[in-house]
């Protein structure tokens, strides 16, 4: 399988000198396209820091990050426009759906291709196809406030997928959900990963879903340990 994302020896130190916080001390990860992995660890272990480095919103201190075929970080950023990098290569799913309240469902999803310069009609067509694939096509014209929580989460997944990024970062996507819904979301992520050939990293401490990951990265004090789930 082609590689979605690879991280080598990633280090992130906040501050310097006496007050330096070594949040990541050498993280190694590799996730194939089509694969969903869990990223778990106790509070303060560095999960959010890793996600922010992968999401190109904070700069690592050293190491290498490769998304698809693009070396994006190698001791320094290798791409000039991080904004475009986030828009084109990374999908984001948050704890809450964080849909834009003043855009309807279609445009919430179509916004990304529009930002990438696609004509409105093309962007909306892509959005509607994806909403159909996620079973929320019938709510395409609704405003986010009119959707149920589950529908909002699906729309936010559609938004993460719409630019067909090689990698999707999901930050506690099941935190507010009960176990039935939480498992349904994980199923959905698995099928989307296969269908759209994308690597998905799910940051979670949700005990309900941890057993569903075939592969897990357990991060402790800034160092990742790879684990396999026997089931």
């Amino acid at each position: 399988m082609a590689e979605g994302i690879r991280i080598e020896n990633l280090v992130k130190t906040y501050g310097s000198g006496d007050t330096a916080v070594h949040a990541l001390r050498g993280v190694n990860m590799a996730v194939a396209k089509g694969e969903v992995v869990g990223l778990i660890g106790p509070s303060g272990s560095g999960k959010s820091t890793l996600l922010k480095c992968l999401g190109a919103v904070i700069e690592p201190s050293s190491g290498r990050m490769i998304i698809g075929d693009n070396v994006i970080y190698d001791g320094g950023w290798k791409v000039r426009d991080l904004r475009a990098l986030r828009r084109d290569l990374i999908g984001f799913i948050f704890q809450a759906p964080y849909l834009i309240p003043f855009l309807d469902v279609t445009d919430n999803v179509a916004l990304l291709p529009m930002l990438a310069g696609k004509p409105n009609t093309v962007a909306r067509k892509e959005a509607r196809d994806l909403l159909d694939a996620l079973d929320v096509g019938h709510r395409a014209a609704a405003m986010p406030s009119q959707l149920s929580g589950g529908e909002q989460q699906r729309v936010s997944i559609a938004r993460a997928l719409v630019n067909r990024p090689p990698v999707i970062l999901a930050d506690e996507p099941t935190a507010p959900l009960d176990s039935v819904r939480a498992l349904a979301v994980v199923d959905l992520l698995n099928s989307m990963a296969r269908q759209f050939d994308t690597a998905i990293i799910v940051v979670t401490h949700d005990e309900k879903i941890i057993p569903t990951f075939r592969r897990l990265y357990n991060i402790r004090e800034g160092i990742t340990v790879e684990e396999q789930n026997s089931t």
Partner: protein, 400 residues
């Protein structure tokens, strides 16, 4: 690309429109204040235009007759009339007073003008209705703004006058409508003493051996008669002959008479630069304060709207929206608010202008200027919110 600003406004349009209307009323007040100033200038221009004069001859070293009291003997006009370049010269009196009318009173400027000849300066140049004053006494022509009608009788001091004609846009520099009387009647009204004063003056004359020399009663009578009448005017209005240069004529009058002479330009500068100047500064202060208040309102509203969307802005940035796009969204919202406000303000000002007691003149050029000022203020006011939005870290969208 879609208009994020437009979608956001449509989404919360109720609040947006209400704020716009509130801002609009404020802008309406601002436009009206400017209109009040324009009205004052226009009243002053109308006063000068309608006097029909090219030159104003007033008491030496005064700024009369509108800005300062001025008193001249009415015979001053005779030698002036004979001077080269002078077409006509006529004495006028001006006196602002309250006149009782149908239970209430009206503030008017009583103008005494020479009525014997049509077209003398100082008379109303045009009548809306009725006729000009033809009898030497007890007839009056009133500006419609007085509310008087033809046939009404109005009391000025001790005498009653019948309204025989109506004119329009004849106002004092203070905006008070004019009431025209014959010069003689107006002089009486202006210089009339009350009965007690006359009795006391006569007693004083009688007890003075100089004014009432024993054995010559005719002297005291003559003194009393002289004291009871007046032949003073406040100014002599002069028109110059066609082709004559007003400045040269003014210089000639100044050379030969012990009077002060003002040209039209001098008079404008007295009325506008001296009399209205303080009111203009007053209004200017109001305009500045209103501009600051409007800016504060727009800044506050746009800032709260933006702060309320911080999370969405972080998400927008995280998924790749440029700062420029987000700043544009906020700026467009501020300008949209300004646009609604300006439209509401313009309509409101036009609606309520006629109800103002004084003339409110809304100039299209002022509206245009107001429009650009509003847009400028909205742009400035949005800077605070734009700054806050630019500062938002896309990492905030990812939980700590």
């Amino acid at each position: 690309m879609i208009s994020l600003a437009g979608r956001d406004i449509l989404h919360g349009w109720g609040k947006f429109v209400l704020t716009g209307v509130g801002l609009g009323l404020l802008i309406g007040v601002t436009l009206s204040m400017a209109g009040v100033y324009r009205g004052m200038v226009d009243d002053a221009q109308a006063l000068l235009d309608n006097s029909g004069a090219d030159l104003w001859v007033v008491q030496k070293d005064t700024l009369g007759p509108y800005a300062e009291p001025s008193s001249l003997n009415e015979d001053t006009e005779r030698p002036i009339r004979a001077m080269a370049g002078v077409d006509r010269a006529a004495g006028v009196t001006y006196l602002t007073m309250q006149i009782a009318h149908e239970g209430s009173d009206v503030r008017v400027m009583v103008v005494g003008a020479e009525v014997a000849l049509p077209g003398e300066p100082g008379q109303p140049p045009h009548l809306l209705a009725g006729r000009r004053i033809v009898h030497g006494h007890y007839e009056a022509v009133a500006d419609v703004k007085t509310g008087f009608a033809i046939g009404d009788r109005v009391k000025v001091r001790r005498n009653t006058y019948r309204i025989v004609g109506l004119t329009s846009r004849m106002v004092s520099s203070g905006g008070d409508p004019m009431l025209f009387l014959s010069l003689k009647d107006a002089q009486d009204a202006q210089f009339d003493k009350d009965s007690d004063a006359i009795v006391r003056q006569r007693a004083r004359t009688a007890s003075s051996p100089v004014l009432n020399p024993p054995g010559y009663p005719a002297v005291a009578e003559a003194v009393n008669a002289a004291q009871a009448t007046s032949n003073n005017v406040n100014a002599v209005l002069v028109t110059v002959k066609r082709g004559a240069d007003a400045d040269q004529v003014a210089a000639a009058i100044r050379r030969w008479q012990r009077v002060t002479v003002y040209t039209r330009a001098d008079m404008e500068s007295i009325l506008i630069d001296k009399m209205i100047a303080n009111s203009a500064r007053q209004i200017g202060m109001f305009l500045v304060i209103l501009a600051i208040v409007s800016a504060a309102i727009v800044a506050f509203i746009i800032y709260t709207m933006t702060i309320g969307k911080i999370r969405e802005i972080a998400v927008l940035k995280l998924i790749g929206t440029r700062n420029r796009t987000i700043a544009g969204m906020i700026l467009q919202q501020a300008l949209g608010l300004g646009l609604i406000g300006f439209a509401v303000g313009k309509i409101a000002a036009s609606f309520w202008a006629p109800f103002f007691p004084k003339y409110v003149l809304l100039l299209p050029a002022d509206s245009l200027r107001g429009f650009f000022v509003v847009m400028g203020i909205c742009t400035l006011a949005s800077l605070l919110a734009i700054h806050a939005a630019i500062k938002v870290d896309p990492a905030e969208a990812i939980g700590g």
